[in-house]
Symmetry: C2
Subunit: 440 residues, 2 copies
């Protein structure tokens, strides 16, 4: 077998066999296949795509290129979750304890933020003392005890994906649905859960800007999961507007706890309940309606919050900050963004809001950047709301005073006030299960 | 400027600006742009193509990446010739002295053979003592004195093309008309002649297998030449069947001399006269009809042959072998291929005949192979001719006796005898000049 022939085959629209995919990925990881051949192949895939079988096979081979985590030491059904990334998306901190409180198991490895989107691991590290690096044994013990554990990616998970992603990143081959789907799902297959809930964001702050592309990505990933023997469901959720009112690590932990205590913002609570209900559905807790009731009940009776607090303590964190949010370190500088006219918020560009929060110190511009946990944005007014001239739109928080003016300018550009009340937008656009797409 | 953005632009069907093409090629030659980015770009070009302006600019930038040969020391109009390569294609040895005899100047650098196609430099080196490496001064002096000089490629000609071609060769991006055309023409622009005749082969033994692709390639190359200020004409000639009766280096020199002496095979003579007439037309020797007459006369009166002999002597070769072909070293082993039935030759696959000659030792399988000048094939029967069972189709010559059986098997597979006389095929299919395609 020669890589040259495989490039030619894909370039001409052919279908790669299982053996060819294995040869290609194995050879690339081992260094027998060089970058310049793989980049030509990636560009050929960008143009010609892959069929469902090829994508599933590619994903499985990438997953098997490293550790395949064995979660059998954890009792009960394990459900994983993946979000394609958004601004203000702190749902993992909410849905994982809800699922745990209702009897599901969440043994989840999360990522860090980069660019305009945040990462669960960074948010967790805003909790004083919280350890995101655990030995495998301790990880299992905590899930068995608390129903959940959230840690950073550890071990050698899908190294083929890591190497391929680095190459795609410099060869303009990132935005290809087969390649995005196989990249995400290879890590999910390797992470060992029994079933997977996917949160595919759509809109200005999402990687997928259109609903159609988001559905295609969701369908592709669901097909991979099911093809690899794991029950998989996807929700297409809005990321045109940031989720909730808080952007920034401490601020988002506080807001997540608000939801778990029953007084979080409506949009974030609703999206979290739908995500949690689907995760419970995947671990066989009943119909979607039943699962939704279970999720609501776990908030109302405080069990979800207690699951989260127990996990924080088990991982060395100070759970008192969850109960008393004022104990979180405060940013030394803040500034308000005021409305410069009467009207309604008709546009709220999530990506631009995210970038403003990065400027304040809440995120990373490069992998080497350090994060200011107290920095971020509290949004008082969101899409569709009425505002008066001079009214507070948001408060910006930072440890670097000199960033306030720039962040304010950016935030004002991201948030447009118009004369007329805009049409309401759904929070969840669709649900994808196997071959079925249900639009809401 | 970032290569990443240029890849994205081309991938999305955009048009690269002159500055972008210069940045890309300059950066690649200097090593600032890495192979894996260039291969992604090449694949994007393979899919999206380039417009006429982009191709001309790419070619000029590649030409200027190395030496631009100054032929002004040679008096009169210089005409270059390029063949896309074929089996039994020895026309350079014939047309260059015809043009010289009629007052044109041919200062030509030629290539070596690789794979199933031969190369002019190898054929010339079959002449004892002939030097294909000359200092620039001597090269000019010989052209001024004899009207022609044929040498190997020397100097640093279009290094950008060399580097790009090596990458295309391993990334399945060779067969792209913009890339083929710019590769060929960059070297022609750098080689310094005033005008260029292109012999674009078409058919089973050619790189371009179909007439349509051959015309597209010819038109693209003519547009590049004209766009760079050089009069350029292309002929589309047949390479479905090998040209002439001889394949192999000494055998082809002998056959070329037969043509110059006025008793060569009809097909080779006719193609050579048409090529030579067009070269004379390009150096302003009159109408095509006038130029054809001049070319015929130079054969009839022996002046073309004498020009060739003078050049051979000037380059240290033994011209007596040209006058007495029996003085060429003979291959120690030979074998006849006989017809196994009565009928007509209905198919003669040029590529397969070429490969059979390589097996006998007449060509190179890899760049490192050495050539047996005496090896090759003399074809007694060609496409369309009647044969009787047991009649000689060809004689194979080699210095490695063990290759005869394999070459005979291959030759028999390449040459198919059928019951009915097949339709005649043209030798020259079309002529391309500027925007005009004349089909014959």
């Amino acid at each position: 077998m020669r890589m040259y022939d495989l490039i030619t085959k894909k370039r001409n629209g052919g279908v790669l066999t299982d053996a060819e995919i294995e040869y290609m990925i194995g050879g690339y990881v081992q260094g027998d296949i060089v970058d310049y051949q793989m980049s030509a192949m990636l560009m050929a895939i960008w143009f010609k795509g892959m069929n469902a079988h090829e994508i599933t096979e590619l994903t499985k081979v990438m997953a098997k290129s490293g550790d395949m985590i064995d979660l059998s030491a954890i009792h009960g059904k394990k459900v994983d979750k993946h979000s394609t990334g958004g601004v203000g998306d702190k749902t993992t901190l909410i849905v994982a304890p809800i699922v745990a409180a209702c009897g599901g198991k969440v043994a989840k490895m999360s990522g860090r933020g980069l660019g305009h989107t945040g990462g669960t691991v960074d948010k967790l590290e805003a909790i004083p003392g919280f350890r995101t690096v655990l030995e495998r044994e301790e990880f299992f013990t905590i899930v068995n005890k608390c129903g959940l554990s959230l840690i950073g990616q550890s071990g050698n998970l899908a190294p083929a994906d890591k190497k391929l992603y680095a190459l795609r990143d410099v060869t303009a081959t990132v935005d290809s649905i087969p390649l995005i789907a196989s990249s995400i799902m290879s890590k999910k297959l390797a992470a060992g859960s029994d079933c997977i809930l996917l949160d595919v964001k759509t809109g200005s702050g999402a990687f997928m800007k259109t609903f159609e592309d988001s559905v295609r990505l969701a369908q592709t990933m669901v097909a991979i999961g099911e093809g690899a023997g794991k029950r998989t469901v996807a929700l297409i959720t809005d990321m045109d507007t940031p989720l909730g009112h808080a952007i920034g690590n401490s601020l988002e932990v506080i807001e997540s706890m608000d939801v778990l205590k029953g007084h979080g913002p409506q949009d974030l609570t609703e999206v979290s309940l739908q995500l949690a209900a689907n995760m419970l559905y995947l671990v066989d807790k009943g119909s979607l309606a039943t699962c939704r009731s279970l999720a609501e009940k776990s908030i109302a009776d405080g069990t979800a919050f207690e699951c989260f607090a127990a996990m924080v303590e088990a991982q060395g964190g100070d759970s008192s900050v969850l109960r008393n949010p004022e104990k979180f370190a405060k940013a030394p500088y803040s500034g308000d963004v005021l409305a410069d006219r009467d009207g309604y918020i008709v546009r709220m560009n999530a990506e631009e809001c995210g970038i403003a929060s990065v400027v304040l110190g809440a995120g990373r511009e490069t992998k080497e950047s350090t994060i200011d946990f107290s920095a971020g944005i509290m949004m008082m007014k969101k899409y569709g709301e009425a505002v008066k001239k001079g009214e507070k739109l948001a408060t910006l928080y930072t440890s670097k005073q000199e960033t306030l003016a720039e962040a304010e300018r950016m935030y004002k550009e991201a948030v447009v006030i118009g004369a007329d009340k805009p049409a309401a937008k759904p929070l969840v656009y669709a649900r994808v299960e196997k071959d079925h797409v249900e639009k809401f």
